[in-house]
C-alpha cells in the first residue's frame, strides 16, 4: 500500500470482512440452528472477546498473558453477582434461615450480605463493575510489573500464578463466592427470565452486537499510531524507549484494555450460560484461550474470532462422538500451529485463499471505493 492512499478506519476490503462475519453470525447460524445450538455458539462468542484481547496484547504488543481467564472470570462474576442477588429476593429464599441473601451464603452460616456484594444490587453499578473491576485489577498488575520492567516469560508466569491464586481464593471463600460450584441458579435480569428460549435467542444477538462493537474498537486502536507503536515495542523495545516514549505506559494501557475486553466476554458468558464458576478463572481456561487465539492467528482480529468458533465446534463435535480424543486433538492442533503455521488460520487464509477472494471481489472493492467519500488528506493506510 502506498503513502497516498487514505487512512480510513475501514477499507472496502475490511467492510467485506465485516459483512461476511455478520452474514454468518446474524443470518446463517440463527437460521440453521435450534436455540440450544445457537446458545452454544453464543457461549463460544463470549470467548472471542478474550481471543481478541490476546491479539492486541500478545499478537501486537508481544505481551503474553497466560491469565486472561482472570479477567474473563471477574467480568463474569460481577454479572453473576447481580443476577444472583435478583434471584435471591426474600420471597424466593423464604425457607432460608436468613432470607434475602444468596443460598450458598445461607448454607455457610452467613447472616448478612458481605459489603462488597452491596453495589451489585444496582444494574448500572454492576455494568460499570464488569468493566472497571477487572480493568483496575489488570492496571495494578501491569503497573507493578511493567514499571519494574518485568516482561516476557516472567510476566507470563506471573499472570498464570495470579490466575491460580484467584481460583484458590474463590474456592476457599465459599461463603462469599459460592466456592467451587460458583454462582449458579441465575434466573432473571430486571425481571426478564433469561432461561427461556426467547431470552437466549435475544441474548445471542446482544452478544453479536457487543462483538462487533469491540471488533471496531480494537481495529481503531490497531490502526492508530498506538497500534504501530505496539508492533515497534514488540520488535525493539529499547529503540522505542529511546525515541522518547514511556514504553511502560503503553504496555499498561494495552494490558488493561485487553482485560476489560475479556471481562465483557465474561459477562456475556454468564448471561447466556446462566452461571459462573472458578473453572473459568484458572490456568486451564486461560491457556485454552491462548490456543484459540494462536489457532485463529494472533495477528488477526477476525482470525481470532473464527479460530474460537472453529476450535469450539470441533470440541463439541469431537467430544460428543469420542470424548477421550478431544484433549489429544487440541494438543496436536497447538503443536501444528506452533511448528507448521505460526500465523494460524489467518495466515493460511492470507497465503492460499485471499488471492482468489481478491480476484473475485476486487472489482467490487473498486466500485465501493468510488462510492465512499474520501477523507482527502494524502496519508498512508495501514
Amino acid at each position: 500500500m502506498t503513502n497516498s492512499s487514505s487512512q480510513r478506519l475501514l477499507t472496502p476490503k475490511e467492510i467485506g470482512s465485516y459483512a461476511f462475519l455478520a452474514l454468518i453470525l446474524l443470518v446463517v447460524l440463527p437460521m440453521s440452528m435450534d436455540v440450544f445450538r445457537l446458545n452454544l455458539v453464543g457461549k463460544y462468542l463470549s470467548y472471542t472477546f478474550v481471543a481478541m484481547s490476546l491479539v492486541l496484547c500478545w499478537g501486537y504488543g508481544g505481551i503474553l498473558s497466560l491469565g486472561q481467564g482472570i479477567f474473563f472470570g471477574l467480568g463474569g462474576y460481577c454479572m453473576a453477582m447481580f443476577l444472583k442477588l435478583e434471584a435471591s429476593s426474600p420471597e424466593n429464599t423464604a425457607i432460608q434461615s436468613t432470607p434475602g441473601i444468596p443460598d450458598f451464603m445461607d448454607w455457610n452460616q452467613l447472616t448478612a450480605l458481605p459489603w462488597f456484594w452491596e453495589p451489585f444490587n444496582n444494574l448500572g453499578l454492576t455494568l460499570l463493575a464488569v468493566v472497571l473491576v477487572p480493568g483496575l485489577f489488570a492496571f495494578v498488575i501491569a503497573l507493578a510489573m511493567f514499571k519494574r520492567r518485568v516482561g516476557g516469560v516472567y510476566f507470563a508466569i506471573i499472570t498464570q500464578a495470579v490466575a491460580a491464586i484467584l481460583t484458590i481464593l474463590i474456592v476457599g471463600s465459599q461463603g462469599m463466592t459460592g466456592g467451587i460450584n460458583g454462582i449458579t441458579d441465575l434466573r432473571t435480569l430486571l425481571g426478564w427470565d433469561i432461561r427461556t428460549d426467547d431470552a437466549k435467542f435475544i441474548l445471542y444477538f446482544v452478544c453479536v452486537f457487543f462483538l462487533f462493537a469491540c471488533l471496531l474498537l480494537c481495529q481503531f486502536i490497531l490502526k492508530s499510531k498506538l497500534g504501530r507503536l505496539l508492533v515497534a515495542v514488540r520488535d525493539t523495545e529499547e529503540r522505542v524507549r529511546f525515541s522518547g516514549y514511556n514504553v511502560d505506559n503503553f504496555k499498561i494501557f494495552v494490558f488493561t484494555f485487553a482485560a476489560m475486553l475479556s471481562a465483557i466476554g465474561g459477562a456475556m458468558f454468564t448471561l447466556q450460560v446462566g452461571f459462573m464458576s472458578p473453572s473459568f478463572v484458572g490456568i486451564v481456561p486461560s491457556i485454552e484461550m491462548v490456543i484459540f487465539c494462536a489457532v485463529g492467528g494472533r495477528l488477526s482480529l477476525f482470525g481470532a474470532v473464527y479460530g474460537v468458533l472453529l476450535v469450539n465446534f470441533a470440541k463439541t463435535t469431537l467430544s460428543e462422538a469420542m470424548p477421550e480424543v478431544w484433549l489429544f486433538a487440541l494438543g496436536a492442533l497447538f503443536i501444528a500451529v506452533v511448528s507448521i503455521f505460526p500465523d494460524g488460520l489467518a495466515g493460511l487464509y492470507k497465503t492460499y485463499l485471499e488471492p482468489t477472494v481478491d480476484k473475485i471481489f476486487g472489482p467490487l472493492y473498486k466500485k465501493f471505493k468510488q462510492i465512499l467519500p474520501s477523507r482527502g488528506s494524502a496519508v498512508k493506510s495501514n
Partner: protein, 247 residues
C-alpha cells in the same frame, strides 16, 4: 568554567558493576556544534558512557549536565525529550514496519498513550518524513519493510529516526560499522550535514573515518580518560600509541 558554556558537561562519572568500574571518574565536555569522537580499545567503557548519558544505565557517582539539566536523575524518555538522541551499536529499527512507519513513530508528536491514539498524519508530519528520508538516502524505500534494508541502510534509517526528532545532542555508536567504502563516504558527508546545528558524539574504530569527521577526539582506556585533543594531538600522544594505535 561554568556548565553553561557547554552543551554537555560530564564530571566525575563512575559506574560500578559489582565492584568492577566500567567507567571510572570520567570527565569530558562537549561544546555547541562540535563533533566529538570517542575512541579506545574494546572494553574501554565507550558504549557505557553513552548508556549513562541516555539513561540506559544509572551512574554510581558523578554528574551529567546537559544544557544545565542534570540527566542522571531523569527517566529515559525525559532525557530524549530534553534533546538527547542515541543510535545503538547494532542498528535497531522496527523490522516489521515500513521505513515510512519507522520515521513516523520517531516523529516527536503524540508520545503518550492518548496522543498516540489520536495521532494524525498531518502535512507537517508527511513533509518531515519526506525531508528526513531524502537526507538519509532512503526516499525510494519509504514503502518497504525495514527488514528488507541492507545493513548500511538500516544504519541510515536509525540516524534518520533520530534526525526527525531534531535532538540538540546526537550520540552515534559505530555508525559506519559494516558499511562499504562508498557507504562510509556517504555517511561522513551526512554527518557533516547534520552537525550544522547540533553537537554530535561518535564512537568509532575506523581511524580514517575519525580523521575525516572529528573536531576533537577523546581517548578512553579502562574506564578512564587517556588523552584528549585534535586527531593529530592524540595520534602523537605516546600513551595512546602504547595502548591503542600502536597495535
Amino acid at each position: 568554567m561554568s556548565d553553561k558554556d557547554f552543551v554537555l558537561a560530564v564530571e566525575g562519572l563512575t559506574v560500578s558493576f559489582d565492584g568492577f568500574k566500567a567507567v571510572n571518574d570520567f570527565s569530558f565536555y562537549v561544546e555547541e556544534n562540535e563533533i566529538r569522537v570517542i575512541i579506545g580499545p574494546n572494553g574501554a567503557g565507550k558504549t557505557t558512557v553513552l548508556d549513562l548519558i541516555c539513561g540506559k544505565t544509572k551512574s554510581t557517582e558523578g554528574s551529567i549536565k546537559f544544557c544545565g539539566k542534570e540527566l542522571t536523575k531523569m527517566s529515559e524518555h525525559g532525557i530524549v525529550h530534553a534533546g538527547v538522541g542515541r543510535k545503538f551499536q547494532n542498528p535497531s529499527v522496527y523490522e516489521d514496519l515500513t521505513v515510512f512507519e519507522n520515521l513516523e513513530l520517531s516523529y516527536p508528536k503524540g508520545r503518550n498513550v492518548f496522543g498516540a491514539l489520536g495521532f494524525k498524519r498531518s502535512q507537517e508530519v508527511l513533509d518531515a518524513i519526506q525531508e528526513t528520508a531524502e537526507m538519509v538516502f532512503l526516499v525510494e524505500m519509504l514503502d518497504q519493510s525495514a527488514a528488507l534494508l541492507s545493513h548500511g541502510q538500516k544504519q541510515w534509517l536509525e540516524i534518520g529516526m533520530l534526525l526527525i526528532q531534531n535532538p540538540s545532542l546526537l550520540m552515534l555508536d559505530e555508525p559506519v560499522a559494516g558499511m562499504s567504502v562508498a557507504e562510509r563516504k556517504k555517511t561522513a558527508e551526512l554527518l557533516r550535514k547534520i552537525t550544522k546545528d547540533r553537537s554530535v558524539i561518535v564512537i568509532e574504530h575506523d581511524m580514517n573515518f575519525v580523521a575525516d569527521i572529528a573536531n576533537r577526539v577523546t581517548v578512553m582506556h579502562q574506564g578512564k580518560l587517556l588523552s584528549e585533543g585534535s586527531m593529530n594531538h592524540v595520534q602523537n600522544d605516546p600513551k595512546v600509541v602504547e595502548v591503542y594505535l600502536g597495535h
